[in-house]
Amino acid sequence: MDDAIPATGLNWRRASIAGAVALPIIALLAFGMTRDPGEITSPLPGKMAPDFALEVFAQGEPGQERMVGDTVRLSEMRGQVVVLNFWGSWCLECRREHQALTNVASEYATKGVKFFGVLYNDQPSTALRWIQEMGGQSYPSVNDPRTRTSIDYGIYGAPETFFIAKNGVVAYKHIGALTEAIMIQKLDSLIAAPSS
């Protein structure tokens, strides 16, 4: 019985081997816990924003309005800061950010910032009812009937919002509901930045 127990009570060699095996695995798992598995990091920020030509279905309010049926092309807005908000009437978070978007879009329209809603996985008729129910939308919305523009922007849910700099490069992508504070901070820095 006595010879079965080592004098020190702990086999340091075994403990160090077990530690060397377990620690990297624990570190890897801990790193995984810090990440949201539902969030996909977009490769688009820093790259040119994909161009599109989409038809307006909700015109927006005076000062920002575009005629229903007009084709909006991103390439025509070079030199201006553009905000693209991908949304749908089925999306609860879109409901939460709607007022903030409408307010900031109105405030920044005079500073040369263009806001556009891009309808994702939804029907314009349903979306128009939603806009009416929400008390209006100050900026125009365009339809993306086969989600091709959404795929071009790597969209996987709604709301997702892209801030595009004056030179046409994606400066920032926001996943989830936006707040006025985030928008103001991003827009002020983009307006202050030079065009080139």
């Binding site: 095996v21 890897l28 996909i40 990091t41 977009s42 490769p43 688009l44 996985n121 086969r146 989600t147 091709r148 959404s150 795929i151 071009d152 922007y153 790597g154 969209i155 996987y156 849910g157």
Partner: protein, 130 residues
């Protein structure tokens, strides 16, 4: 007249047959590429297997791009450009991704070595005592 009609009919069948063959090849290639791309709104499903609207549109886009003459690598590159490497169900075996391929093998080998040692020790001991 009858001969002309028979010839035309035969040509029609041949053209239809060729179209079907091209479609079948395109369908097979679309399925191959689509089965490698992750559905962004699902849990571990490829866009070939997902019934979601976004996955169906992505699959349609894969088909369109292949039909327009793009290679499977170019189609995969397009989706990586939009969604990142994440969109590949099997990540490329390079850099940090190597862990995904090497760690399971290392764990199996380490576990096997541990079990072998454990079994050997516990089968050898009684024999030595006897």
């Amino acid at each position: 007249m009858t001969a002309v009609m028979v010839t035309t009919s035969a040509m029609g069948q041949s053209v239809t047959g060729a179209t079907v063959a091209v479609d079948t090849v395109l369908d097979r290639r679309t399925r191959e590429v689509a089965s490698e791309l992750r559905c962004p709104v699902c849990q571990g499903l490829s866009i070939a297997d997902s019934p979601s609207e976004l996955a169906q549109e992505m699959k349609g886009l894969v088909r369109e791009q292949l039909a327009s003459g793009k290679s499977p690598e170019q189609v995969r590159a397009y989706f990586i450009d939009k969604y990142g490497e994440w969109v590949l169900l099997a990540p490329k075996p390079e850099g940090f991704n190597l862990l995904v391929y090497l760690l399971p093998a290392a764990l199996v080998m380490g576990g096997g070595w541990f079990v072998w040692r454990y079994v050997r020790r516990h089968t050898d001991t009684p024999a030595e005592q006897v």
